[in-house]
Symmetry: C2
Subunit: 254 residues, 2 copies
């Protein structure tokens, strides 16, 4: 990223900043970029984060789609702080970047973000290599040479960008339905405990989500695969299931 974090988010296009930005003088936390926020999971995350007081930079490949998603988000979370950007603009504007794109776009998206990402930023990868990316079943996974989509992300980001894997088991539909109590776990993987903790502190601002440290980034191949498993369970039982680990202690992070 090149912009100062303390600078207000700069939305794309000709539109004036939305009045809500003026109405909330001090954001209660640093802004977070959601890359792919016009997609279902990204949009749900943007809503939930904004409702928790996190300013959200809505990123999309297409500026117009970012604007539309931003407008929809504002209608749902009226006191949320949103700004619309093309993906690189969103990533450039925030210390923390959530990558929530279909697997078929992950590699291209990260290549396009190469100059927007810079050392020290935290990338939370939520990509799932479902076979649906190659017109296969959403209950099957693709093998990723690096081991997982998260490890592919780590390979592609500029040196010094910290990568954590999370959020694969949270249903987009449940996130977007703000009345739906989440009450489930987020399985977090990464090679640095501090980075995982930073991601956990952000994610746990969303009501009902508890983050569990599941190990190194290589474990993402299993947490990513849980998406396919949950899609299978959801189809069978007509639900939006989540994951809960049992017998955990009360305190999972410092």
């Amino acid at each position: 990223m090149t912009a100062s974090l303390s600078a207000p988010l700069q939305p794309i296009g000709e539109h004036p900043p939305p009045p809500i930005l003026a109405a909330v003088p001090t954001p209660s936390s640093d802004p977070v970029a959601v890359i792919g926020a016009s997609g279902a999971l990204g949009f749900g995350l943007a809503l939930r984060l904004a409702r928790a007081g996190v300013p959200v930079a809505i990123g999309s490949r297409d500026g117009q789609r970012a604007e539309e998603a931003c407008e929809r988000a504002r209608q749902i979370v009226s006191d949320g702080i949103f700004s619309a950007h093309e993906n690189a603009g969103a990533a450039d504007a925030c210390d923390t970047v959530i990558l929530s794109v279909p697997f078929r776009n992950q590699s291209e998206t990260l290549a396009n973000l190469k100059h927007a990402l810079s050392p020290g930023q935290l990338l939370i990868d939520a990509t799932v290599p479902l076979a649906a990316a190659v017109s296969g079943k959403a209950t099957r996974m693709l093998g990723v040479w690096q081991g997982s989509a998260a490890q592919q992300a780590l390979e592609m980001v500029p040196d010094g960008v910290r990568v954590v894997s999370a959020l694969h088991t949270i249903s987009a539909a449940s996130l977007a339905d703000l009345e739906h109590p989440l009450e489930q776990d987020v399985l977090v993987c990464g090679d640095s405990r501090a980075d995982k903790q930073e991601a956990a502190h952000l994610i746990e601002r969303i009501d009902g989500l508890r983050c569990v440290d599941c190990g190194k980034l290589e474990m993402a191949r299993t947490t990513e695969a849980l998406t396919a498993l949950l899609i299978s369970v959801n189809a069978r039982y007509k639900i939006h299931a989540g994951i809960r680990l049992t017998s955990l202690p009360d305190r999972l992070w410092e």
Copy 2:
């Protein structure tokens, strides 16, 4: 299997049948074989099933170890119905066979059971291809050519033996500690809904276990991998975690 199911289980060796067999005239269900019951997971399953009134044929590669496990089990579940067998004898004596052996022994064990298993039997495979099988980490998985240990089992059993995959996420320590409330889910995979349901009805006799249909047998590659994930979580938090799926309906099986 060749023996009639209505015949009493025939323990190996010279020992007379234990008095407990005489004390319980009518078993409340058909006997179940646990192959590898001298191992930690198999032993815990044997205890829990016996406590639920299921007669258990304790199988081990070594007859003497089966006897010892049987004796230990009787001391813990004094009203349980146990019998000791070499693996083939246990498999031969029961309609339902739980395979609970380390991955390094799965193939050899199934080869040895070839003549003990016969069409119509239900094999519940609990094998996990942990990298520990080749002196690697227990938080890493081996790639199995067929896709999973369960699919390898399906390939190896005689035609007509039905294979269901289950029980990978239940901690052996929690099973063996009969005071420990389980309150967790068992993720069940298999190509036949009826076979999964039959396995679920057996497993759910164990207090606190709920079986969830997770799809076809090929999904076992993910449910098996959850063992490695839980081992990672357990080591970090010094617990014995289990899995619970959220938002499921009350009724999961007919």
